[in-house]
Subunit: 100 residues, 2 copies
Amino acid sequence: MDIVEISKVLANKTRVNILKWLKNPEANFPPHQDIDHFDDGVCVGFIQDKTGLSQSTISTYLNSMQNANLVIPTRHGKWTYYRRNEDVIKAYVEALKTDL
Amino acid sequence: MDIVEISKVLANKTRVNILKWLKNPEANFPPHQDIDHFDDGVCVGFIQDKTGLSQSTISTYLNSMQNANLVIPTRHGKWTYYRRNEDVIKAYVEALKTDL
DNA sequence: TAATCATATCTATTTATTTAGATATATAAA
DNA sequence: TTTATATATCTAAATAAATAGATATGATTA
């Protein structure tokens, strides 16, 4: 549980927003074409559309969030879905509460 | 409660260490010359010595931490003491728990 | 298998952060 | 009232982060 590495991810409004949106994909994203649930998260394109930033920037952001273990990717055909890693998010908040 | 601004402060090992050290000044710093308690925190020089970074860097760090309301400065003669702002730290962790 | 689509990576530019030396300020001491 | 001490601010250099265009990869489709 690296507080500094996770804090670096959270030190950016867009990345914090992505995490918040992924809490409730039904409310924040349109339905996917091939599946009727968000069990594995949301595809990169939807996240990109919502932020208005470039595809490469969002891919970089999601990669950094994945490196910090804050999100989990799952490949579905040509799409990559990202969902929150609730265990790590919870553990981070707990670590702040005790260590900070 | 600005999650991004506070996360920027926590995105640096030295600044996180300073906050941790200030939790227990008795254990982490020598006694002050003029007073025999740490009620108003720890003087800048002691914090600088412990980090090994330059005086101006530590002053900048403490300033950024103060801007984020994470620490509170108090002037005692020619020394400035810094202590944790427990209310804001607690509120930040709570905000993460609910918003993030 | 050629074309297409979604995503990742590479490269480059702009902007922000880190860090320290030099200087300024504010207080205390001689 | 000069001198010393503690801290803050200014300036500048080095490093890192943000961002996007171009290109590559991997999967589907024609």
